[in-house]
Amino acid sequence: MALATVWIRNLFAATMLMGIFSLLAASLYVLLDAVDVALTEAAVGAGISIILMLGALVLTTSKEKVHDARHNLLALVVVLITGAALIYGTMDMPNFADPKAPAHQHVSPRYTQESVDEIGIPNMVTSVLASYRGLDTLGEVLVIFVAGVGVLLVLGAGGFQRRRRESGEEEE
């Protein structure tokens, strides 16, 4: 699915394929028992980002510009080396569901065993996100807010501006 998304030239179809890819990823997260992440992926990846991309396609064009067929050898070499390094890096990763993995050694036992007593909330994901890691979540919220402000600065406030223009015309 991801390969098809990269290969296809029609950007509208590529956007749709990305949405399907996100939905498949969300079902994969459900299978891995990460329901919180799955809900986010389904809502953000398959829903909102596709809508925003369609909005961007309306603003620009839905056909990808085809470049000259001259392929860049250096880029291919760099990509191959980076990919090989990444795959080599995954070899050191602990096996799936290995209880001795570093991620399960540090703070996870405390979160899983004591968070219900400490916070009084059954969903551990929420207590980790909102309480233990409250400052990180605050950072995420601020990033989203700043992103919204940035889009407003670049694209303008949409209908707001237009309404102002219309009222200006009426005054003239």
């Binding site: 309306v58 989203i144 889009v151 209908g159």
Partner: protein
Amino acid sequence: MSPHIVLRVGAKLLIPVILLFGLYVQFHGEYSPGGGFQAGIIFSAALILYALIFGLETVQQAVPPAAVHALAALGALLYMSIGIWAMLAGGNFLEYKVLAADPHVGETAGIILIELGVGITVGAVVITLFYSFAGRARPKRGGD
């Protein structure tokens, strides 16, 4: 009105359910999967669906852009003011257990309030993004 009648009726049936589900995900996040991020996005998805079918102007009459901008800032402000409230109550920044006499009540209240802030900001920012993109697209189409 006559074209897309299925879309219009279907959306009218769906949108209240989506809004309700957004609120459920928001306020039930302590017990089931979900929370502010997901709830904000689901909530704004309902409004975007409304805008896609009934037009941007209809939505902007119900939810004016200025109010959305104010809400985006208000959510982040709510989050940070909870943190500062905890500092005033004698704890660290964002340490909710000092908010009430019972630490569990304090933690729960703090989490619900900051999740509300997250939800408000995320939903408002997503609606803002949509307004910006859709508002840009309209004049071009009108000019054709």
